[in-house]
Amino acid sequence: MNNNKFTSPEDLNRLRERLVKQREEGRIIITVCAGTGCLACGCEAVTAAFREALKENQLEDKVEIRTTGCHGFCERGPLVVLRPEGTFYQRVKPADAKLIVEQTIKHGKLVNKLLYRDPQTKEVIVKEDDIPFYSKQMRLIFGMNGHMDPTSINDYIALGGYQALAKALLTMTPEQVIDEVKKSGLRGRGGGGYHAGKKWASCRRAKGEPKYVICNADEGDPGAFMDRSLLEGNPHGVIEGMVIGAFAIGSHDGYVYVRNEYPLAVKNLNIAVDAAREHGFLGDNIFGSSFNFDIDVSRGGGAFVCGESTALMASLEGKIGEPRAKYVHTVDAGLWDKPSNLNNVETWANVPLIIEKGADWYSRIGTASSKGTKVFALTGKINNTGLVEVPMGITLREIIFDIGGGPPKGKKFKAVQTGGPSGGTLVVETREPKVHESLVAHGDIRDEEEVVSLLDLPVDFDELTKVGSMMGSGGMIVMDQDSCMVDVAKYFLNFLQEESCGKCTPCREGLRITLEILTRISEGKGQMEDLDTLEEISQVMIDTCLCQLGGSAPNPVLSTIRYFRQEYLAHIVEKRCPAGVCKELVSHAIDETCTGCHVCFSVCPTNAIIGQTKTLHVIDQDACIQCGACYQLCRFDSIKRVKRGEGDAIQYVAKEKWHPPVKKKAAAVA
């Protein structure tokens, strides 16, 4: 028998106490976020620079470098937090490492240029916990990420890891575990929102052996990366949840189906599974009990439809990832036609928390029907891109403005899209609210005049469904005035059409036709009847598609028509794209604010821009292919996207009004 294996909770406690003591010995810890976002910003070079700097200052013994999973504040990466003080440094470059070591670690002085500065109040904030992005969150699951090296099982144990497993296995019966999860009100975080406890109970009741426990880590939603960050940053939390679940259900075989596109998640998960096995948290006679359970990590092919339970199971069997009709539920006949319980990464990660702290504690967080916290990937046109974990029931306004900091560059907020491609785009007009609370509560908000301030909608499985969107797995994409809603709907439909497996006709053909119509509208060839046709096809798809990919696919179309009908009408009737996104309907033109900086000149692929330095530039309307390269580049917002054909008129006016740029000095003298 391996010496590392724990056979009793006392052993685990002893190790934990030792580790905690070690941690409390006053060593300074430099935590460097090594989530995908920070990796892409070059955090590996930062870690190496820290190592070098410590060596130079002979501090290697006194200071520890810990590369952790994602901290969530991706916008400001690479992130470095000095613990135990919690000093937060952002956008750290390799050259800054030496500075931090020499100033902060050696002399306790702060490096001002790396501190966080609130964009609105300009206030400098030193501590991680005081930054609004973090202080408004409730980081129950995600908080551990910043404190541990995901490849170290000891770090997880020091933070109280595997205590819940010991509690469940040695002091509870499987039925008690299920009751606890039921009582906690935990609902599936993958999107469906089905009660986890109920699912476990049906799987336990189901006839047939063996039973399988599966973790769905096939996160395919574009714009969502919370499962990935959880697996990368806290793989043991997911494993512990799965073992507890397997014990409750009576299963001995588990699978994690993770996308191959997430190499770091696959790597960290495999390391964690091996370590858990070595320590006896997986394998035979876990904690000296008679319970056996092991996990296989399976890398998936990365198809969106494989996030659907039956498709995932088919793919796990080595077949094409097509879903099947679910007259028989997967809890009765799933993988290899055996009872199978599938939950999403975040759901599993919630389980140890519920067992350890109790269902009563857990169910106090959240709303009446949605308990606990939810991790959202806040992206798009927003200042603070990143992962946020908030209690259920928080309003969209708090997430988008208080935590997310609103859209960048002072642009006007337009809409938020939740639930991924199958979710809905919600208008959140900033008009004065005329709506009565009671109407929103009844979902009766069809009247255009009444559609206001969905921003104050609480985030909750049922509330979001009522207004035509859904919780989904937690992608939250913010759009500002420059986003075209027809284009957004077209984008999602295009995505879904590519990802549709093609097995059932309504999805395969419905998506094709819907996309065709949307494309037509975005090209200015739409007709008024198109809107009715879209709604009709959508209804057929909702009623008849085999799986939820098709069944929820019309959500983006229906919700944009519902909240942005005016924008559709502008495309159809006026042949105009108000946001200036739909290529076929816009012209690019330069107005009188042009400074003659000449930057746009060289980027134009068709040489359509005419002008010399310090003169007004003009776009040759016939040569322009509306590629948008110059628009992206212009720092003065002088390039405008106007209705197709109106470019020359704008440029004519510009010619009349334009003055050569006045030098700053001369202006000051004048």
Binding site: P222, K381, Y491, V603
Partner: protein, 172 residues
């Protein structure tokens, strides 16, 4: 695309080791195909046939799986591989402009390889670096906050890198 005869033995060896690694379990089929694709940058048809034989599965099932998942390719990819993320976050930050321009610069459509076999590019749905959007990867290296100007520079660098490597090869 079929392999030259001398490559067949190598293929046989590689596939035997891959199939053994996963103990020929059908649940590992996708992983086995991923490993082959990683080695060859595509799935040679001979590889599919061999795997089918060794894992005792119908070739049709393998062909089905290989064509179902977008990550697999039955045709060879370029020496350098570029991915443009077209996830929602990148899309609203104008990833489309990047795709169009890259397409035009390389003279190929997404999913194709340049005729000289040097560069292939494709669009992917979210690589999870949304904060950097619009983002592209070049041979697994991330380039964030892309603009057309930056893209041109990346392409120049890539072509430059290529010639540098070739120069080394020539010298050797």
């Amino acid at each position: 695309m079929s392999l030259p005869v001398e490559a067949q033995d190598e293929l046989e060896q590689i596939i035997t080791s891959i199939v053994d690694r996963y103990k020929a379990k059908p649940t590992a089929l996708i992983m086995a195909l991923q490993d082959i694709q990683k080695y060859y940058h595509y799935l040679p048809i001979e590889a599919l046939k061999l795997i089918a034989k060794k894992m005792n599965l119908p070739v049709a099932q393998l062909f089905g799986v290989a064509t179902f998942f977008k990550a697999f390719s039955l045709t060879p990819k370029g020496k350098h591989h570029m991915c443009v993320c077209t996830g929602t976050a990148c899309h609203v930050r104008q990833a489309g402009v990047i795709v169009d321009n890259l397409s035009r610069s390389l003279g190929i459509n997404p999913g194709e390889t340049t005729p000289d076999g040097e560069i292939s590019f494709e669009t992917v749905n979210c690589i999870g670096a949304c904060a950097l959007g619009p983002v592209i990867t070049v041979d697994d290296e991330y380039h964030g906050h892309m603009t057309v100007a930056k893209l041109n520079k990346v392409l120049d660098d890539l072509r430059g890198k290529k010639t540098a490597e070739e120069m080394v090869e020539e010298v050797q």
